[in-house]
């Protein structure tokens, strides 16, 4: 969680650096088509290494240099994925995992936003609330598992609770930090135009905090996916995490890798959806988005 906080902070520094760069570059009227082309080229470059490794491994197994039993070649992984998709298992497990993540994320994010806002905007509440939350944050979230199981049973409630706890802290920290680092100079502009507290929150606080809030939500979502695996390890009969455990117990590495790939895709899609949904709100600094 510390690292996610750090990444949020460095992302912020990047924002500042980039916007001043942007200001300087504005006069030079950048060629957007050229920028776009360079961007695409770099993406393709990133594909090169994994594809090369996959092809090499495929060839090694094909030519009998390796059995490929513990490390299955890409063709077998694809075949497993296809088989899982055909029987409908893949969709059922993915859906279960997604449902758990989204429910936990919704609860954790709402709690994080509410408490983060309170803690960020009122000194008294911060002094009252923050030490306790920081102390709780120091507990590795997985350590809650035995308690959650005792309290909430071994079914969905305990899993969702674990994910919610994991999501809560980065969101809380991100929102409170964003509000605390709000530029006093912009708030003064609001005072000059005699905005009420509510108007100030809506017209200055909210838009100013949004970019950092999106980053906080994204790191929260990432942690949600991390904790869903932990939750499904501790006993589940459904979900991608179950596929992992099952693959290990049945000695099916191809199923494990297939589940890992499904996790990666699911996480990436969820993150992209969050980015796309927040795009219109932070369009004014969309150049930053390309870099994150």
């Amino acid at each position: 969680m510390t690292s996610s906080r750090e990444s949020a902070v460095s992302g912020n520094a990047e924002t500042v650096a980039w916007s001043s760069q942007e200001g300087a570059a504005a006069l030079a009227a950048p060629d957007f088509a050229e920028k776009r082309r360079a961007f695409d080229g770099r993406i393709l470059l990133g594909f090169l290494l994994p594809i090369a490794i996959a092809l090499l491994w495929e060839a090694a197994v094909y030519f009998g240099l390796s059995q490929g039993r513990l490390i299955p070649p890409p063709s077998r992984i694809l075949a497993t994925l296809e088989a899982l998709a055909k029987t409908g298992e893949l969709w059922a497990h993915s859906w279960m995992t997604l449902w758990r993540v989204l429910t936990g994320f919704a609860i954790g994010a709402v709690a994080g936003i509410v408490l983060g806002t309170l803690s960020g905007s009122s000194r008294t509440i911060r002094q009252f609330l923050d030490p306790t939350l920081q102390a709780l944050r120091a507990i590795p979230s997985i350590a809650w598992v035995p308690l959650f199981i005792l309290w909430l049973g071994i079914f969905e409630a305990s899993k969702v609770a674990l994910i919610a706890v994991g999501v809560f802290f980065p969101v809380y920290l991100g929102i409170a930090g964003a509000i605390l680092s709000l530029d006093r100079k912009l708030v003064e502009v609001g005072h000059v135009f005699r905005l009420s507290r509510l108007q100030l929150a809506r017209r200055i606080l909210l838009p100013a905090v949004l970019p950092e809030a999106v980053i906080a939500l994204r790191s929260g979502l990432g942690l949600g996916f991390m904790f869903v695996v932990a939750a499904e390890f501790m006993g589940a009969s459904e979900g991608l995490g179950y596929l992992l455990v099952d693959g290990q117990q049945m000695g099916k590495p191809d199923q494990i890798v297939a589940a890992i790939i499904a996790f990666a895709l699911l996480g990436k899609i969820a993150d992209s959806l969050l980015v796309v949904a927040s795009m219109p709100l932070v369009r004014w600094q969309d150049t930053v988005r390309e870099r994150l």
Binding site: S19, E22, G23, A26, L27, K185, L186, E188, V189, H191, V192, F193, R194, R203, I204, P207, A208, L210, V282, W284, Q285
Partner: protein, 262 residues
Amino acid sequence: MLSLKHLSKTYADGTRALSDITLTVHEGEIVALIGGSGCGKTTLLRLIAGLDRESAGRIRLDGEVLSGPHPAVGIVFQEPRLLPWLTVFENIAFGLDGVSAAEKNARVSHALEKIGLSEHANRWPRDLSGGQQQRVSIARAFVTNPKVLLLDEPFSALDAFTRASLHEHLLGLWEETRPTVVLVTHDVQEAVTLADRAVVMQPKPGRIFDELPLTLARPRDRTGLPFESSVRRILTALDHSLKAPQEQPQRERDRQAAALWW
């Protein structure tokens, strides 16, 4: 008419930023507050804007005591302070809350035209240069038609060419509604270009040292002899204000008499 009576400001740590400021600014007058750093110019402006509270004294606008930000008082800060998530148009319209959409549109469009940024109406502030951003900030203060406009060294971060063109834009906007303007500056040339009166301030604690009327005809010729001599008069007053903090200022009247004698 803006009147300041025995205005003092002492900060919580005991620093006396302003002491016993009494100043009257007539309607439509442009007054330049000039002085070295730390003489409380910006503090004085923040008191008038209602962003800070005075420790003693009264600020009145047309008889009404000002306490806190007032709709008839606008301010342009040293930095543009545009809201980066609003377009140029929306930034200028920021203070026009109770105004109908059509009226808002008309006023902002007119202001955009005046500052020469009509074609940039829908761009983000980050796409503008520093000088353009400051023009937007001036327009944002003007569209609410304030009776008093406070300018806190708004051109200090700009190069000489940009500054000269902004002076013209400012006077162009001022001509329309002729608000009372209080301009804080440390640039003597700027004071002589814009102001009807220069108020020279003295530091520790901030107080008024001298007032010099600037009666040059507008538009002002920056290369002419009257301009030069006005600049020199202010520089002399500034010199005195810094050299002899306790000494009684040599009154403007005496100096004018001396000039006649010559």
